[in-house]
């Protein structure tokens, strides 16, 4: 007679053969991995690429005309990086081919090199139009594209992407002087108005990291980048030639290794997958429900209001929530669909933090829906207006 252990082994082995495997599992896992990344700004297309693929893409983009000087490998934030550009004239320079989309660029391609050795990255900026190969037409609105990749192959056994990039909206919203377009590796990048000449990231612990602002022929706006650990939240300060601060952006932390703290959190509302709970860890606020989380917001020092737009399987499906700092009497949520609602009832946050939470349902919205949240004081003055941060798939 078989022992319990033998019977156990056989039963487990046989049972395991009946587990279902979805052929689209990889695509779904990739989609999930991107779901919880903050998308500050309106990223329309992005990709991560290994060094070889990224290099091939760059070669096509640049048409082999761009030369990255090998001298003065700058250390991020300390030594100014080098840059070079390849003017492409008025006609389309080259076509970027990747899996699903292409771009025709109309600007020069400006390369910014940072770091050295295996850590050296080259980021290429250009402006162009997306091409739909199926419909054989060109997009009507220009894109700002950024592609970053490690200059050298990564060290053996290293894990992680070797590059990537995104193409996003090329223009600034009215009144804005700078906007974030996305991130790849530890590089944050975006566009800024002509008068912006420098950018500095101030991390939550006060450290300052200087970034780079560049321009090139045909650029609709300047391009900026700054490199710091993406697990840290930061405030980006933008300055003009006279050294005056002209704009700032708050960047939440990306890719936190979040663990629910034993001290517990503050339950905000009932979502589809459970209670939406806010946690405070190391000065950062994280919202979590059903093993998913969105987090990295500074509890202090950020804008007067931070708002999120929730959707997806773990979320209730359509809600707007976030937190405010002292002095805010109400918040108004405005979606691009035209919907508008006000929240003036707040859930108290942690004692001494000054943080209070709001949450309100909003109608079901499409993937292109964006919005803003505006904080008003008791006298009706606007304290802050911030774009809503999309969550979920």
């Amino acid at each position: 007679m078989n022992t319990v252990e033998d019977r156990l082994r056989e039963a487990l082995r046989e049972r395991a053969t009946h587990s279902p495997i979805d052929p689209d599992a990889w695509e779904q896992a990739v989609a999930r991995s991107r779901r919880r990344r903050w998308r500050v700004g309106r990223v329309r297309a992005g990709f991560a690429a290994p060094a070889a693929a990224a290099a091939a893409i760059i070669a096509i983009v640049i048409g082999m005309t761009s030369v990255i000087p090998r001298s003065t490998p700058g250390q991020s934030g300390s030594v100014p990086p080098t840059q070079s550009s390849s003017a492409t004239g008025g006609k389309p320079c080259k076509v970027v081919r990747n899996v699903r989309k292409m771009w025709i660029c109309f600007s020069a391609i400006v390369n910014v090199k940072q770091g050295s050795g295996h850590q050296a990255t080259v980021t290429s900026f250009f402006f162009g139009y997306s091409v739909n190969p199926q419909a054989d037409n060109v997009g009507r609105s220009p894109d700002f594209c950024a592609i970053s990749r490690l200059q050298l192959p990564p060290a053996p056994n290293s894990a992680g992407p070797d590059g990537g990039g995104s193409c996003t909206k090329a223009t600034l919203n009215a009144g804005d002087l700078a906007d974030s377009s996305g991130s790849i590796l530890n590089i944050q990048y975006g566009i800024a108005a002509r008068l912006v000449t420098s950018v500095t990231a101030v991390l939550i612990d006060g450290r300052r990291v200087r970034g780079v602002v560049v321009s090139g022929r045909g650029f609709l706006n300047k391009a900026w980048l700054v490199t710091y650990p993406k697990q840290e939240a930061a405030t980006l300060l933008f300055f003009d030639a006279a050294g005056h601060q002209v704009s700032k952006l708050f960047m939440p932390a990306y890719d936190q290794d979040f663990r629910v703290p034993s001290s517990g959190g503050i339950a905000l509302f009932r979502a589809k997958g459970g209670s939406m709970v806010a946690y405070l860890v190391n000065g950062l606020i994280t919202f979590s429900v059903a093993n998913t989380w969105e987090g990295g917001f500074p509890a202090a020092g950020g804008p007067a209001v931070t708002g999120l737009l929730g959707s997806g399987s773990y979320w209730a499906g359509s809600e707007c929530f976030g937190y405010v700092h002292p002095g805010v009497a109400r918040v108004v949520i405005r979606l691009t669909s035209g919907y508008q609602t006000t929240a003036s009832a707040f859930t108290p946050g942690w004692p001494g933090s000054g943080v209070r939470f709001f949450a309100t349902g909003v109608p079901q919205y499409g993937p292109a829906t964006q919005g803003t949240v505006t904080a008003y004081d008791a006298a009706g003055h606007v304290m802050a207006q911030e774009p809503l941060i999309g969550t979920g798939p």
């Binding site: 049972r15 495997i21 990709f47 894990a159 890719d255 993937p367």
Partner: protein, 178 residues
């Protein structure tokens, strides 16, 4: 938004300088995804694919801090165990607030699985979560105590205890039924 993911589709994320070290997330996914689905299934997850995909999604997000494929496998395995445990915890709460319903295997499973295997698996399902985890990791994946401890987030001594007590409980349950 169109996610292009050119690199991910090549399966060479985290590739080294040679093919022998070109074990990236995509490659790891191809090699280990079925195993992780089965692990979640054997641990009693109601949607094992959901668990396995979430575990790999976390790996993709964490890739920068994992330096070798073995660490990645251990990380994903631990994610599967933790996520399944969390899912059980969640379902226990849900069941407190919903009318009692008994879990039934599909008719396909009922036909396919041998009677004695069903008995064993039913007894396994009746074990406390950590004993079940230790048993599955030990007798299905043939992991060492150290590896099981890493996956469960406990000490090797606790693993030994869980396996021993789990086996004893299984023996008693199977003995009672025969």
């Amino acid at each position: 938004m169109a996610d292009l993911h050119a690199g991910l589709e090549t399966g060479r994320l985290g590739a080294g300088t040679g093919d022998d070290v070109a074990v990236g997330v995509a490659g790891l996914f191809r090699a280990r995804y079925p195993e992780m689905v089965r692990l979640a299934d054997l641990l009693g997850a109601d949607d094992p694919e959901d668990i396995a995909q979430e575990a790999f999604a976390r790996l993709i997000r964490k890739h920068g801090s994992l330096r070798n494929p073995e660490a990645a496998v251990a990380y994903v395995r631990r994610c599967v165990v933790n996520l399944t445990r969390n899912r059980h915890r969640h379902l226990r709460v849900v069941r407190l607030h919903t009318p009692a319903g008994r879990h039934e295997d599909s008719s396909e499973q009922a036909v396919i699985l041998r009677e004695d295997h069903r008995e064993v698996l039913a007894a396994l399902a009746g074990l406390p979560p950590r004993r079940r985890e230790a048993i599955v990791l030990r007798y299905w994946l043939d992991l060492s105590e150290r590896e099981i401890a890493a996956a469960m987030g406990v000490s090797p001594g606790t693993v030994k205890s869980n396996v021993s007590r789990g086996l004893a409980a299984l023996a008693q349950a199977l003995g009672d039924r025969t």
